[in-house]
Symmetry: C2
Subunit: 326 residues, 2 copies
């Protein structure tokens, strides 16, 4: 094998750890360093790959692509442009409303520095976006639907945990099967928020807390729960740890449309994920490969998944892909 693609990880939470595991599954990619803002000696996996982020500049000639594993809310808006001044980057920026401005910034910095960056990689935004685009392009006379879950929503879990008397809690978003079936039938229903998803909460109450009040407060919380049918289960901390410490997720992108004289057609893409961060990490690593190859060909600036031919995601040559997978 020719030279491996040398990757760096910036940020070592669930996503960064997932990227490390994903790199291990790809023989053409090697992990060069992991950059953290924490004191290196205090990171639990402290090993010879851990480097304090202040030394990132020393790695300019040693890393082909940096995978940015920070959160969108505060980390990426700062780290993205900072790292893109020195490296090709891949990130999973997912604040939908801010994607256009973040793209502009990353495009400006990457173009100026002569690097290549790709933003908003993962499954939504990411693979789901690709399928929305595909559905719209192939069936222009149609309608698309996205359902999420069954999976843990971090935002909704946080909202529960902020309620007085709640010690811990987790929230699952669950797509409603009857709505999925109506969509699949091709009737093109207009579905309300309540018709598409259920919300199921598992809550650990503090000793002596008023459970009825907690349940009411959850169910009536505007934006988060009041527009949904929500169920609340009170459980022990032990049960929460034992049964709800995975981070499953998934969902469905469905495009139903008509061709010719009313011929019904349906395209469906779905994910069933045992671990949301590990899957997102696997997508990031595949796109890191693409970015390394496209940068090598001289491409500069910022991209999204819409700009990357799938062939670049694979370690196989175009001739192998045509022979084996077409």
């Amino acid at each position: 094998m020719e030279n491996k693609i040398r990757v760096g990880i910036v940020g070592y939470g669930n996503l960064g750890k997932g990227v490390r595991k994903a790199i291990n599954q790809n023989k053409d990619i090697e992990l060069e360093a992991i950059f953290t803002r924490r004191e290196v000696s205090k990171v639990s996996e402290n090993d010879n790959l851990m480097v304090h982020i202040s030394k990132i500049g020393d790695f300019k000639d040693r890393i082909d692509v940096m995978i940015l594993c920070g959160g969108s809310a505060t980390d990426l808006v700062e780290q993205g442009p900072m790292v893109a001044e020195m490296f090709n980057t891949v990130d999973s920026f997912d604040t939908h409303a801010k994607i256009p401005s973040y793209f502009e910034k990353m495009n400006e910095v990457s173009t100026a520095s002569g690097n290549l960056s790709i933003i908003s990689v993962g499954w939504d935004p990411g693979l789901f976006s690709l399928n929305r685009l595909l559905g719209n392009a192939v069936l222009p006379n149609g309608k698309d639907y996205t359902f999420w879950g069954k999976g843990v929503s971090q935002g909704h879990s946080d909202a529960i945990r902020r309620i007085q008397g709640v010690k811990n809690g987790i929230q699952y978003t669950i797509p409603i099967e009857a709505a999925l079936e109506r969509v699949r039938s091709g009737e093109n229903p207009d579905l309300t928020t309540r018709e598409k998803h259920l919300r199921e909460c598992f809550v650990v109450a503090e000793e002596g807390a008023d459970k009825t009040k907690i349940e009411e407060e959850i169910k009536n919380m505007p934006n988060y729960f009041s527009d949904y049918d929500t169920t609340v289960h009170f459980i022990t901390e032990e049960e929460l740890k034992r049964e709800h410490s995975g981070m499953p997720h998934g969902g469905f992108v469905i495009r139903t449309g008509e061709t010719g004289e009313g011929t019904k057609q349906r395209i469906e893409f779905s994910l069933d994920l045992g671990s949301n961060p590990e899957f997102t990490s696997s997508v990031l690593v595949a796109y890191a490969r693409a970015i390394a190859k496209m940068a090598k060909e001289g491409k500069k600036g910022a991209l999204t998944v819409f700009d990357v031919p799938f062939g670049y995601l694979s370690s196989k040559t175009p001739a192998e892909l045509r022979k084996e997978l077409l």
Copy 2:
């Protein structure tokens, strides 16, 4: 709107007719001419768009992309290189074993003529191939499965109709639900041919024909039926016309894999098509748009779906796509 993309159709069977309908659904594309080998006055839809194929050279400056709608077995191997000498092309070449050599030929001709061609566009090869590639790239530690149907297999229907005593007939390939469920569960089963698909035949027998003999002959036909559980129903010609004149098809591409320490992940893509040729045509038209744009940017030679960023499939601008679909 700026100038429309001007498309020509070569070959006016089910696929060519589907392309005409699909173009009608896309405001940025217009149909310039339909080329046929038949005498123009004898084509039932004879209208001002019909042109005898011998005059195709006259349209060199009037057509941006030619969509080749002939069959793979004999038409495309001849027409592809012939048309690619003068035009950008899109075709649905689907003889898997011959894809590498056909690609080489089309690449050679298109490169020499300064045109851009894309081969093997449709859903399999095509959208299914893209999903096989994606699954392999994102979940390298995994296994992929393709199921076809429920849908009409032209090859198997033809095989039935060649049997003595058979007046007419049609064959449906049906994926076996139990096998799909085993795959979805992530157990990574090794499935035999018989476990994956059923074959269901609807046969119109000639008067006085020996139905028992016909049924036996179908069920024991090597390659086509003997490795499958096959059911045979005898029906009337009227019922065949009434109930089985659609051309439905579809199928499933499933990738199951593991990330990290045994975390199960699944990616699934499926199609449920009321009309196979109309859907394939819709895919061809979306890729014709992509080829027109890429050719305008100066790209030359031959491509497959693996080489085309999804963004090119849409009539929207990259900024619109980032804002609306990412």
